[in-house]
């Protein structure tokens, strides 16, 4: 009996090995059955006349709000471009893989997309996975444009660019924004010292604060293992007389900070960066607590310009919610790719590596008007130049400040 079982097991093992090889071979023909996100018609895929753009981000897990927004935002841009005739006459094929905001899973997702013959990568959405994937795109020479990976090493190689501000830029821009608008004279910072995103923003914020008319009276840290009780940090900020608390953190912890401050009867202004985006979507969170919270963000859904109104209404019809800045970043990312590919004269039959070489040069020459900024341009280190904007939460929605 035992012998039969082990023979069976051996056969199954052998079969899976063969399946593994076969799977890789069929994947390359572009008939992706596993994906849930392809937009282009499968017919043109076979002829090879399409550009294959891959996307990676967390569509499940704690950071799913970001990943889904990026996935959907990019989808809208791709549908628009495809409807208008594509890039240099070729349609775009789009496939989005989940990484659950985990570096290892992001690399797996990247490998899946490579097997699919991805030519350009739009991603990844969050910083830590993005840094891991940037090592791979550098190795394979694939062009990478992250809509929202803010940490510096995301674009450390010359093939990688970003749509959003980097962490240092966010920290500096927040300090300038608070200073220029006289939002506070004494402020406190609560940041996650175990997270590169949070501590990166904090360092630049603190450096820029020296040039600004306010004073940092308390700089309190917490770590990934100690992020449920913020009463002590809040108490210190309160005792130091801070009237504004800068929160360069993600919204999960921010919801706790807001409710604990409320319990304490402490009512400072809260000011955060893009990590706070998503706070209004937390299940069972009392949105009243977020009233008056300010965010440094490049996108306000209530802006009245045509491009924003059009994007918001499309997003609303398609996905039943108001897009956040991540959706806008992703929408812009696709149009930036389009502009750079048109500038470089890319064609769908070019290899990923050739496209990368052509597009990374073109990125330095283009100027794109997008949802997240007008006249965006890029430097060789992958950073974008655009003006900082902020929004404030009023009656449960983002409202553009001045």
């Amino acid at each position: 009996m035992k012998k039969i079982t082990s023979m069976l097991l051996a056969v199954v093992l052998g079969a899976t090995l063969l399946c593994g090889c076969g799977g890789a071979a069929t994947e390359t023909t572009g008939t992706d059955t596993a994906t849930e996100n392809t937009s282009a018609d499968a017919g043109s895929a076979a002829t090879g006349a399409t550009f294959k753009i891959g996307g990676i981000g967390p569509i499940t897990g704690g950071a799913a709000v970001y990943g889904n927004a990026v996935k959907n935002g990019a989808q809208i841009a791709i549908d628009e471009i495809n409807a208008a005739g594509g890039i240099n006459g070729a349609q775009i094929e789009y496939k989005f893989e989940d990484d659950e905001h985990d570096a290892e899973k992001a690399v797996n997702a990247y490998n899946t997309l490579k097997d699919w013959n991805m030519q350009l990568l739009m991603g990844t959405v969050t910083s830590a996975p993005c840094v891991a994937v940037s090592e791979k795109t550098k190795e394979d020479n694939i062009f990478q444009l992250t809509p929202s990976g803010t940490s510096v090493p995301c674009t450390q190689y010359e093939n990688a660019f970003r749509v959003c501000f980097s962490d240092p830029q966010q920290g500096t821009a927040s300090a300038q924004y608070i200073g220029q608008n006289n939002l506070s004279s004494k402020l406190a910072v609560i940041y996650d010292s175990s997270d590169v995103y949070s501590s990166g923003i904090y360092e630049k914020f603190a450096a820029e604060a020296a040039n600004q008319p306010f004073e940092i009276v308390a700089a309190e840290a917490f770590t990934a293992d100690n992020k449920t009780d913020f009463t002590t940090q809040l108490q210190k900020a309160k005792d130091a007389g801070a009237d504004l608390i800068f929160l360069p953190i993600y919204y999960q912890e921010a919801t706790l900070i807001l409710s604990q401050a409320d319990t304490m009867g402490y009512e400072p202004t809260f000011f955060g960066c893009d990590g706070l985006d998503g706070i209004l979507g937390v299940e069972n969170f009392d949105n009243k607590l977020a009233e008056g919270v300010m965010l440094l963000t490049p996108f306000a859904a209530d802006a009245k310009d045509d491009a924003t109104v059009n994007f918001v209404s499309q997003y609303n019809t398609k996905y039943g919610e108001t897009p956040n800045q991540f959706a806008a970043d992703a929408y812009d990312a696709i149009y930036i790719m389009k502009a750079a590919m048109e500038k470089a004269g890319c064609t769908p039959d070019m290899s990923a590596s050739d496209i990368c070489n052509a597009v990374k040069g073109a990125m330095l020459e283009i100027s794109v008007d997008g949802l997240t900024g007008a006249g965006m341009s890029w430097t060789a280190d992958g950073e974008v130049n655009k003006a900082p904007k902020a929004v404030v939460i009023k009656d449960g929605v983002y409202v553009a400040m001045d």
């Binding site: 704690g62 799913a64 840290a221 100690n226 999960q252 919801t255 304490m264 069972n284 969170f285």
Partner: protein
């Protein structure tokens, strides 16, 4: 005044550690095994209450009662499936199994509920105690947690001292073999221990989530480890030790956050544990067990 505030923050945090530590120490004291899945049973308790009261609108009291029943059954099932077959195995094997159970519960919750954070509506309706013109606030959750700790401690101690089942537990904890010879049903006793321990976990879960209202599949793991530290600190196996250890740990954590460094707090807490264990290896209230030769 701010010192008092930090102290009270510490006591609130510590009372949560204490109530978790009670379950840890109870199971260890009797079954002589570290149930690392305890923290995750707490998380399950939290999710049961969240699903019932926030999503389905069941009244909080009923939800808590159901949660206790669910966790008790869960605890007994885990014991029956994962730990009982290993009764005669080395303690290391049991420990690793417990870690496995812990991951299993976390991943199960991940599949069922996703890892998005959920905000828990506090089930505690006690008004906060405000003293000194609003400069000091003691939350209702803290008051309830401390009272619950006290009640549980007294009930458990009386139960173990006065009832037959409790006496059987004591006997099992001292010597399983001898207890069996004396007619104690060892398996049933250990099963009962897990039932009580997991029921306590449900209560701890509700109070943990009421005090710190974020709920995700990993909610129980770090407080679980801290509570384990608290139990060791107070003397593992000792029920009053768990209470004292928990509260001291919370106070040390809060005070080191406020006066030394907010990011070094955990390092300081664990250093204190190392020092206590060096000076008094059995913990503050632990009994010294002399090996029979």
């Amino acid at each position: 005044m701010s010192f008092l505030n930090y102290l009270i923050n510490g006591v609130s945090l510590g009372s949560v550690y204490a109530i978790i530590a009670l379950g840890y120490t109870m199971v260890y004291g009797i079954a002589k095994m570290l149930n690392f899945a305890h923290g995750d049973v707490i998380m399950v308790g939290g999710f049961v209450v969240f699903t019932l009261s926030t999503r389905m609108g069941v009244s909080p009291v009923v939800a808590v009662l159901i949660s206790i029943v669910v966790c008790t059954c869960l605890g007994m099932t885990i014991e029956r499936i994962a730990y009982k077959p290993l009764r005669s195995a080395t303690s290391l094997a049991v420990l690793i199994t417990a870690i496995g159970v812990s991951y299993f519960l976390q991943n199960l919750a991940l599949i069922l509920f996703g890892s998005d954070i959920k905000l828990f509506t506090s089930v505690v309706k006690v008004k906060p105690l405000v003293i000194a013109d609003g400069q000091i606030t003691i939350t209702g959750e803290t008051i309830v947690t401390i009272i619950a700790c006290m009640i549980i401690m007294i009930v458990l101690t009386t139960f173990i001292k006065k009832t037959k089942a409790g006496q059987a537990m004591l006997a099992v904890s001292e010597d399983k073999g001898a207890a069996e010879l004396m007619g104690v049903n060892v398996n049933a006793t250990i099963s009962l221990t897990f039932a009580i321990g997991s029921g306590l976990a449900a209560i701890a879960g509700v109070l943990l989530c009421s005090a710190y209202p974020s709920l995700n599949p990993y909610t129980g793991s770090m407080p679980g480890i801290k509570a384990f530290v608290a139990a060791v600190f107070g003397g593992i196996g000792s029920i009053p030790g768990a209470l004292i250890g928990g509260i001291l740990l919370g106070v040390i954590e809060s005070l080191s956050k406020s006066y030394i460094s907010s990011q070094m707090a955990d390092a300081i807490v664990f250093s204190v544990l190392i020092i206590v264990l060096l000076v008094k290896p059995t913990g503050l209230l632990g009994k010294k067990i002399s090996e029979k030769v």
